[in-house]
């Protein structure tokens, strides 16, 4: 059930190798997907800058992984659920997450988790979101709804117990869920080859008896096609699929990470020409749908929009002390109210 070869539809120069496999999107739609990648890139660049300026506390860059995120996000239906990990900027933005929200999250603001209903917030403990995705999908089945859940995880995350348990549950309950492994070749400093002896991460699906496939994660067309097919199958009751998106993290793990401690610049340089935007742009330009000028203008627009979003975000107030205790339980229990009141008394200098 695991395909032997990595799915690639468009090569690294944007030439379509498998016209038979190209999904039937209009030119405008392909252009729309490309624009979503540019938007993610521009936002990512600005977020990285913001971190360097000290406006964010920390930030996990996304550069190079846009196709693996925009492709599946675009293939989702409106009422489908997205269960991200933490590095899915392209998918968040596509699924309607406000960039200001992302900014606020990494700025360490409390107000950063205002995600749309069907997009789960960022979660930090690696792997733990996988069972949530399966549970959401199981609930869809139980309720007789035909929504599908798309869940993201990294190559490192595939080593966690929760990942395996979740895949196995998904198989047993035939849950309508699509797992996207963004294999960006590193788990912080640990290279993919030291993460597991499995030849592919797609073959992790075999343990759960579900279909797995490896896709060129920098090929937007292939990522869209693979996700579309898997989502359609899940929607029709065909159960879960694991998609390994082979991509590369062109940036450090997080903005403060000195990645040359564990990988050579030359390796990064080798991957750079294969990155997804360049490729899709070549495809669109080859078809006369796009120009360098338009591209530069678009990037500039998105950059400006990002900066505007940041400014808006920063204008939001900080968390007030009372917000602290309001969201532990639906109703504030007595002991917590007392603790809060004691703190307020301290703040007011009214201590007896």
């Amino acid at each position: 059930m695991v395909s032997e070869e990595m799915l690639q539809i468009m090569d690294e120069r944007g030439t379509v190798l498998r016209p038979d496999l190209v999904p039937a999107l209009s030119d405008v739609e392909w252009l729309g997907l490309y624009k979503a990648m540019v938007r993610a890139r521009a936002a990512d660049d600005r977020l990285q800058e913001a971190q360097r300026e000290g406006r964010l506390l920390i930030y996990p860059p996304n550069t190079g992984q846009e196709a693996a995120q925009v492709g599946p996000a675009a293939a989702m239906g409106e009422r489908d659920w997205l269960v991200p990990s933490f590095r899915e900027l392209g998918a968040y933005l596509y699924r309607g997450v406000d960039l200001a929200t992302i900014f606020l999250y990494w700025a360490g603001f409390d107000l950063g988790s205002r995600f749309p209903e069907r997009v789960l917030p960022i979660t930090v403990p690696i792997g733990t979101q996988m069972p949530h995705a399966v549970g959401i999908a199981m609930a869809s089945s139980i309720k007789g709804e035909d929504t599908v859940t798309v869940a993201y995880i990294g190559d490192g995350g595939t080593s966690t117990g929760d990942f395996s348990e979740a895949l196995n549950f998904a198989g047993v309950f035939n849950a309508p869920v699509v797992f996207i492994v963004q294999n960006n070749q590193y788990s912080i400093s640990v290279p993919r080859l030291k993460q597991t002896r499995a030849e592919t991460l797609a073959q992790k699906a075999v343990a759960a008896g579900i279909p797995g496939m490896q896709v060129d994660g920098n090929d937007l067309i292939a990522m869209y096609a693979a996700a579309q097919q898997a989502i359609a199958r899940a929607r029709l009751g065909g159960g879960p699929t694991l998609i390994e998106a082979c991509t590369y993290r062109l940036s450090p793990h997080i903005t403060v990470d000195k990645h040359t401690r564990y990988r050579r610049e030359s390796e990064v340089a080798e991957w750079r020409p294969r990155e997804p935007l360049r490729r899709m742009k070549a495809y669109l330009m080859g078809r006369g749908l796009w120009s360098e000028e338009q591209d530069a203008a678009l990037y500039a627009d998105y950059s400006a929009a990002a900066l505007e979003a940041f400014r808006k975000a920063e204008a939001e107030g900080e968390l007030k002390p009372e917000d602290l205790v309001k969201h532990t339980y639906k109703e504030i229990p007595a002991h917590l109210r007392e603790q809060y009141e004691e703190y307020v008394r301290f703040l007011e200098g009214e201590v007896e």
């Binding site: 659920w81 409390d110 107000l111 988790s113 205002r114 995600f115 789960l120 917030p121 979660t123 403990p125 733990t128 996988m130 069972p131 949530h132 995705a133 399966v134 549970g135 959401i136 999908a137 199981m138 609930a139 869809s140 089945s141 139980i142 309720k143 117990g161 929760d162 348990e165 979740a166 196995n168 549950f169 047993v172 917000d323 309001k326 969201h327 532990t328 339980y329 639906k330 229990p333 007595a334 002991h335 917590l336």
Partner: protein
């Protein structure tokens, strides 16, 4: 009204909740065809269908993790963990998600979910079947934790837990499953989470306990009664949030306090109770707060467990010491 034991009361509560609200689903290892390791879910699959009561693979983290997902997507999942010690593989999902989703999203998402599991020992079982988990679970903000000590409370608290919009861990004293019968209403009712109950009034000392031990404490109170010592016994019922009001009111009256629990002593639940009494009723205390607890050891194998678990005699001895200690701790004239 019918006479029933605690496991039947739980079974009735689940059945009722499933009948009333189709969002309620019940799952875990062996809960389907077999009806659960102890029979709590007997008949539910036959009655409510395989979609709403089903077996899972053997994976506790995924059991709790999928419950989180189901709750996010509109269901009210009731997950069963088969034995006390098997909560540990799932603790990460509880700490990192179940208890945290509301605060992570500043109240925009709630997780109405229940995790049921057997609790406590004295049942001569193999390792990890007799553990007490109050401390591990009680220290997690965002989680509610309840422990019934009777069939009536079991049904009422479980119904309350299922209807609660916060995640609740429902600890079921294994030793009480079939220990005794009690009149339990056939229909709907609930017992409020967060309220302790004075189950025996007294004036000489306050004793807080819960679950299976409550019954040993009541026997100990009877022993003391014959010696002329009146113990006021409180069934804690909820570990988190604690009902401090009921406890402190009693201690302020009696001036003496003991807590009796199965868990190991150090960093055990009795520490919290002793501390809150020392803080909240300091001037009323005539003797130091007393903790009668398990030893600070791993629960011993079945044939030696009687050294670990307290019976009424041993409890009475500890309470007697507290009740008779010279009352010179500057109380009342504070």
């Amino acid at each position: 009204m019918a006479e029933m034991n605690l496991i039947t009361a739980i079974n009735h509560a689940l059945d009722l909740a499933m009948a009333q609200d189709e969002r309620v689903v019940v799952f875990g290892e062996d809960v389907g065809v077999m009806g659960g390791a102890f029979g709590a879910t007997a008949g539910l699959q036959a009655e409510h269908g395989e979609k709403r009561c089903f077996d899972t693979p053997l994976a506790e983290s995924a059991i709790v993790g999928t419950a989180v997902g189901m709750a996010l997507n509109g269901l009210r999942p009731v997950a069963e963990i088969q034995h006390p010690g098997f909560i540990f593989p799932a603790l990460d999902q509880i700490v990192s998600h179940a208890a945290r989703m509301r605060s992570r999203t500043r109240g925009r998402r709630s997780l109405p979910m229940v995790i049921r599991l057997p609790h406590g020992g004295g049942i001569r079982a193999v390792e990890l079947h007799s553990e007490s988990l109050e401390t591990f679970l009680g220290h997690i903000p965002g989680l509610k934790v309840v422990v019934p000590s009777s069939p009536y409370d079991a049904k009422g608290l479980l119904l309350a837990a299922i209807r609660d919009d916060d995640p609740v861990v429902f600890l079921e004293p294994t030793k009480l499953y079939r220990a005794f019968n009690q009149e339990v209403p056939d229909g709907d009712y609930s017992v409020p989470i967060g309220r302790a109950k004075v189950v025996r009034p007294g004036t000489d000392l306050t004793v807080v306990s819960w679950g299976a031990y409550l019954h040993e404490v009541l026997k100990a109170a009877e022993i003391l009664h014959e010696e002329g010592i009146g113990a006021e016994v409180i069934d804690l019922r909820t570990i988190n949030p604690l009902d401090r009001e009921t406890i402190l009111a009693s201690v302020k009256k009696t001036g003496r306090f003991a807590v009796v629990h199965e868990a190991a002593k150090s960093f055990g639940p009795g520490a919290e109770l002793a501390a809150l009494v020392a803080e909240g009723a300091f001037r009323y205390l005539k003797a130091p707060p007393m903790r009668l607890t398990g030893l600070d050891i791993t629960i011993p194998p079945a044939r030696a467990e009687h050294h670990y678990f307290l019976d009424a005699r041993r409890i009475a001895e500890g309470l007697r010491r507290t009740a008779t200690q010279k009352g010179t701790g500057g109380t009342l004239h504070g």
